[in-house]
């Protein structure tokens, strides 16, 4: 019986094996093929260029790149790991790699780093530490980073008489919203052309919102990366008790008063309601003139500036300063992980090392899609953006002024998001008070016990 079942299982697995990509294999001429996976289609050409350059320098190693969208990417990586048929090297994210570390699915890099004498101090401050386990084991070399800023439609700010200078020096506090709220109110326009800060403003018939609210993205509400984290952090809040923390602080007053203010924007009509923001994505709403301002990540720069039309002149402003006296932006970065089951760890490491090098990151910089993690290449990327007519200083100012804070790395990240997202939706739709998040925080911290 057991035999029969095993046979059936083997049969069942056949199509999966056939459909999946086979893991890195040695080809007939003795050269090695390394499979590499990434999710960002915008970065694919740059990394293809890196792969070609790498192959030219190492003719016996061929890199084959496989790209799939963010939604499918993690299922693909996970099923690959389970079936023992993963890509040898894959782009990883801070929300997912702790799980791989805890389950021994990725290779520690310390021995390789020591053997090859790789200098890990060349990266922007803090990025290397993101890829260190609690025991101090290094699992990735940081390739790039992203920060948060305010995208806006310059035609709408000009019409409102708001200058780029004003937008660059906004301040915010959770009591009255500071000049940040003043500008958002002024940029809001109702159907009859009345602005949000003028008498007779009809908050139920808004034509153009001051700022957008995005709940659709999985992490948008859970960790607030693009939506509220820049405000909460500028209010002195920290998400957890440090990297690899075991307790969240969603019960802290600094967080809850930030969300209270944020939700008040909906009630004042300056920001779309939860119901009104469901549908077409924020960037297209910005292009279409439904909104004047929208906070989002540097990775969207190419997309937003690519959408320039007669009625849409994109520009970027830094996030406002908060009660701490400083701005704040979540600092997130990607790195590559090596699958623990790879048949060619040496070759996979060579490729990872190359992707983290100045050589490859200069190629990535020229593509003007993301900011490479090596300061020299960061500068090159800023210039490449400028050559395309895009001023990205609103993103880099956070790094220059040292106002970034790290993505909250913890175990149970997907459970945390699954608990936080509906709870935040209930708060933002006015169904539950902000204080209801305290109970959710208890539930989340219960996961770590």
């Amino acid at each position: 019986m057991t035999k029969a079942l095993a046979g059936i299982a083997a049969l069942a697995a056949v199509p999966l094996v056939l459909a999946g990509c086979s893991a890195g294999s040695t080809t007939t001429d003795g050269s090695v093929e390394i499979k590499y996976s990434l999710w960002d289609a915008n970065q694919m050409p740059a990394y293809q260029q890196c792969a070609d350059d790498f192959h030219a320098a190492n003719p016996d190693i061929t890199i084959s790149i496989d790209q799939s969208g963010w939604e499918d990417y993690w299922q693909k990586i996970n099923t690959g790991l389970v079936s023992g048929n993963s890509a040898d090297v894959f782009t990883s994210h801070l929300a997912y790699y702790p799980e791989f570390v805890l389950n021994d699915q990725i290779l520690p890099l310390d021995d390789y780093i020591a053997a090859d004498g790789v200098d890990t101090s060349i990266y922007q401050d803090g990025l290397v530490d993101l890829w260190k386990s609690p025991e101090g084991v290094q699992y990735g070399l940081p390739k790039d980073f992203d920060t948060i800023a305010l995208f806006y439609n310059q035609q709408l700010t000009d019409a409102a008489g708001v200058t780029a200078e004003q937008l660059g020096s906004l301040d915010w506090n959770p009591k009255d919203g500071g000049t940040y709220e003043d500008v958002i109110a002024h940029l809001t326009v109702d159907k009859s052309g009345v602005r949000g800060d003028e008498a007779g403003f009809d908050k139920n018939n808004v034509e153009t919102y001051g700022i957008w609210f995005e709940a659709s993205n999985a992490g948008a509400l859970g960790d607030g990366q693009t939506q509220w984290s820049y405000l909460a952090a500028a209010n002195g809040w920290e998400a957890t008790d440090g990297p690899w923390g075991s307790s969240y602080n969603f019960d802290a007053p600094e967080f809850q008063e930030t969300i209270t203010w944020w939700h008040s924007l909906i009630e004042k009509g300056y920001m779309p309601s939860l119901a009104a923001q469901t549908g077409i994505s924020w960037s297209d709403q910005l292009t279409a003139g439904s909104v004047a301002l929208a906070s989002n990540g540097s990775w969207m720069t190419g997309y937003v500036f690519g959408a320039t039309t007669d009625s849409f002149t994109p520009a970027v402003a830094p996030t406002p300063t908060g009660p701490t006296g400083e701005r704040a932006s979540m600092f997130n970065g990607l790195a590559d992980n090596i699958w623990a089951g790879t048949k060619h760890p040496e070759e996979a490491w060579e490729w990872v090392k190359y992707m983290g090098s100045l050589e490859c990151q200069s190629v990535v910089a020229d593509a003007a899609v993301v900011f490479p993690s090596i300061p020299e290449a960061t500068d090159a990327a800023v210039e490449a953006f400028a050559a395309n007519g895009v001023d990205v200083s609103a993103f880099t100012v956070q790094v220059d002024e040292g106002t970034t804070f790290l993505f909250p790395i913890t175990d149970h990240k997907s459970d945390v998001n699954a608990l936080m997202t509906p709870a935040m939706e209930a708060v933002m739709s006015g169904k539950e008070p902000v204080s209801s998040l305290t109970a959710v925080n208890d539930e989340i911290n219960g996961l770590f016990k």
Binding site: Q75, A276, T278, Q285, S414, A418, S429
Partner: protein
């Protein structure tokens, strides 16, 4: 003796003919079901070996508020979807049967069914957008308040149900239409001779004679509706709050987003038992195996 040989001869070819279907059944239905039931008693995250935890998953599910809400919204969806779809499809089928022989009209009716589910869902999602969608532009144009179709808790599930009614109603109508064609014409002629009006004919002739087909359609659509997934996955993603977190979507989230395969398997086993029960009850109540056509 001779009889036995011929019987053996029949068994061997019969077995041969059954092999292809059996392989599919064993590999893709029976084995995954057995394994799923086993996993439902374990704690399993794919990357570590499953550990047996007895009925713990089931106990946790019983205490899981999200599970109960997901059952509630699933029933809400099934009720709206099946109710609306069956009534409209029946009306369409009777209209087609009584008044037209046109292949073009039959083609038009079934057209939405030929479009991929995900595309249908996305097009309606964009059409129903609050700020930029065509539907809200029309609502706004005639002076009514805009509606957050996919974004408000009250509207989200009915909207998704409507989208799926739009896509499936033609197909269901065609199934019922085929059933109508099987009803002999002389019954209608007899009804006409007896002076029965159009409504009376429908109530006393069409409906009773269509019952077995109607039962089949109901079982298939109810079971299908319980498994609503793709429309939710590409539009609301279970939100706002839990308003569209239908059971199948919750299973997917638990398994593939939270990597809690043991818990997800237990949810799937519960859904399986539920669907089997409902199908059985429907079959009994609607007497699907008998027809009133025998005279």
């Amino acid at each position: 003796m001779a009889a036995k040989v011929s019987r053996d001869n029949q068994i061997v070819p019969a077995m041969l003919f059954l092999i292809p279907a059996s392989i599919g059944f064993l590999a893709f239905f029976l084995w995954p079901t057995i394994r799923g039931i086993y996993l439902s008693f374990t704690d399993y995250n794919l990357l570590r070996d499953p550990t047996f935890i007895g009925f713990q998953n089931y106990i946790d599910i019983f205490n899981d508020a999200v599970f109960w809400r997901s059952m509630a919204v699933t029933f809400q969806y099934v009720f709206i979807n099946v109710g609306l779809q069956t009534v409209i499809a029946l009306a369409l089928a009777v209209l087609m049967h009584r008044f037209t022989r046109s292949m073009i009209i039959r083609g038009v009716v079934v057209l939405p069914y030929l479009i991929a589910n995900v595309i249908v869902a996305l097009v309606w999602f964009w059409l129903a957008d609050y700020s930029l969608g065509l539907i809200n532009a029309v609502i706004d144009g005639i002076g009514l308040n805009k509606i957050g179709f996919f974004g408000s808790e009250a509207w989200a599930m009915p909207t998704i149900a409507f989208v799926n009614v739009w896509r499936h109603v033609g197909y269901t109508a065609l199934l019922l239409f085929a059933g109508l064609q099987a009803i002999p014409r002389d019954v209608y002629e007899a009804a006409e001779v007896d002076g029965a009006g159009e409504f009376r004919v429908f109530r006393s002739v069409t409906l009773p004679l269509l019952r077995p087909i109607l039962a089949f359609v109901l079982v298939v659509t109810v079971v299908g509706s319980f498994q609503i997934f793709d429309t939710i996955a590409v539009t609301t993603g279970g939100g706002p709050v839990d308003a569209t977190r239908a059971i199948n979507f919750y299973i997917f989230e638990r398994a593939f987003e939270r990597f809690d395969f043991g818990y997800a398997s237990a949810l799937a086993v519960i859904l399986m038992i539920l669907l089997a029960t409902i199908a059985l009850i429907q079959n009994r109540l609607l007497r699907a195996n008998e027809s009133d056509m025998e005279r």
